[in-house]
């Protein structure tokens, strides 16, 4: 991490990091246009889970990507050689590159970083391997499925699909904050000049293991996810991928790229206080770190895209930490997990993309399924209806098991400034 530059975040420098491409696969829409429309409309991605057998569970809703076809995106590799999460990461990366308007040859000549965050990797394939092994012994295990299971493939497959040669590939497995971790890592790599361009984000596919674990913890909502609501009942597991193209403003300007937003900075910490319970002080410290790194004062932030899982523990801890940093009147604090469920390793990447689109298109996505805000929380979660308000600086929270916290600050890109 670098410390804040003199003159604050709004003075533009050639080595400032900008988002110039976005790829999204989500339960509320695939591609920038559909995803943005979904966020603005407050679309719900909820449906009964079909990815695995849900018999034995009293309720099994999730936010599944029901219309995904890797065909248009996975062209070099055989889609069957990739697990569902890698199909997601590769497709979102291809989409992001096309959205950024970069030709394949141009891309192959660049020094690249591909970094994909994940919680489960290809755990749905691991579920399959274990089921086959239990039923018929190791001979019954499909070698193609077994060969897909390594989590490192989520980023390696992106490089292979896009024919990248001068590239570092890094899968970051810091669970539900992983997407933000990759953005932070990418920000440092491209800002320092170590690489020319970054493809970063997160990917996860629904799997029985994770659903069953959260179910056992009593944290799966019976119907929908209602973050910050007095009657919230928990999370819904989701899936998808979000990939961002990051480059230096100087390079983006030269090639006439469209800029969605700037990455102003980030903060990471790990308190390792508890396996699953978030720690308020540590979460507050992480937000403060991010703001300091971005050179942004709390009263300059217009919007927080919260981790907002929809559990009471998260609601109380996160809102208290926000008030600790922001004082009595924090900025509007939304949870897109109300629409997307918890897409695990993809969640904070999708969150960062939502922030970039909110900045670029000038709106604030709502927290849907909302009836009555928990009065204990002291926040405005923008219930149910998007606002036509253009945020200039937005904070994206990612808080993961094990006390892994990652916060990214994004800002509006204004070229007319000196």
């Amino acid at each position: 991490m670098t410390s804040s530059v003199a003159g604050g975040p709004r003075s533009i420098r050639d080595d400032d990091v900008v988002v110039t491409g976005i790829g999204v696969i989500s339960s509320i829409g695939t591609g920038v246009a559909e995803f943005a429309a979904g966020l603005r409309a407050g679309r719900s991605g909820v449906s009964p889970i079909t990815a695995f057998d849900t018999s034995g569970f009293d309720h099994a809703n999730g936010c599944e990507v029901t219309d995904f076809d890797p065909g248009p995106w996975v062209r070099t590799l055989d889609p069957a050689s990739l697990g569902r999460a890698a199909q997601f990461s590769v497709s979102a990366a291809r989409m992001a590159v096309e959205d950024a308007g970069i030709e394949a040859a141009e891309l192959a000549a660049k020094r690249m970083l591909v970094s994909i965050g994940t919680t489960d990797g290809e755990s749905s394939d691991l579920d399959r391997v274990v089921a086959a092994d239990l039923a018929g012994g190791s001979d019954a295990v499909d070698p193609v499925v077994a060969g897909r299971t390594s989590a490192s493939r989520l980023s390696v497959a992106v490089a292979r699909e896009l024919g990248l040669v001068d590239v570092e590939t890094m899968t970051i497995a810091t669970a539900c904050a992983a997407g933000n971790y990759t953005i932070g890592y990418g920000y440092d790599a491209v800002r320092s000049g170590e690489v020319d361009m970054v493809l970063c984000g997160g990917a996860d596919a629904l799997c029985r293991k994770t659903f069953a674990s959260f179910y056992r913890l009593g944290t799966i909502a019976p119907d929908v996810c209602r973050p910050f609501d007095a009657d919230r009942q928990g999370i819904l597991t989701g899936e998808g991928a979000g990939v961002l193209v990051l480059e230096r403003w100087g390079d983006a300007r030269k090639r006439g790229a469209r800029v969605y937003a700037r990455i102003l900075g980030y903060g990471l910490n790990c308190d390792a206080t508890h396996q699953v319970a978030p720690d308020q002080d540590s979460v507050a410290r992480c937000m403060a770190l991010a703001l300091e790194n971005a050179g942004v004062k709390p009263d300059e932030v217009d919007l927080i895209s919260a981790h907002g899982t929809g559990t009471r523990a998260n609601d109380l801890t996160e809102s208290s930490a926000i008030r600790e940093v922001y004082g009595g009147k924090p900025p509007r604090t939304i949870s897109i997990k109300s629409m997307l469920g918890h897409a695990m390793g993809a969640a904070s990447a999708l969150g960062a993309i939502a922030c970039a689109l909110a900045i670029h298109r000038g709106f604030i996505p709502p927290t849907i399924n909302h009836r009555r805000t928990d009065p204990e929380l002291g926040i405005d979660c923008v219930p149910n209806t998007a606002l036509d308000v253009a945020p200039a600086i937005v904070q994206n929270n990612g808080l993961a098991f094990g006390g892994n916290n990652a916060v990214v600050i994004l800002g509006r890109h204004e070229e007319e400034n000196p």
Binding site: R216, L217, G218, H274, Q275, V276, A277
Partner: protein, 84 residues
Amino acid sequence: MTASVEQRVDRIKEIVCDILELEHDEVTDTGLFKEDYGADSLLSIEILSSLEKEFGVVIDQAEMSRMVNMEGVVEVVTEAIDRK
């Protein structure tokens, strides 16, 4: 206490001791799992799910507020078995 009920209590205690990593005589009927034995919410859920499996019953997670010591756990499990 009939023999079968006694056996059941012994089996419950065995499961609890195993999960809390305690010796049989360290756990009393009223000693609190969290305050006295350092258990956390994850271990409490592990106790609940192990008991469900062992006795083939379903225990509502709301009952966790009662399952704070051996006495409470035995009560909840007994009620669940009676409901079967």
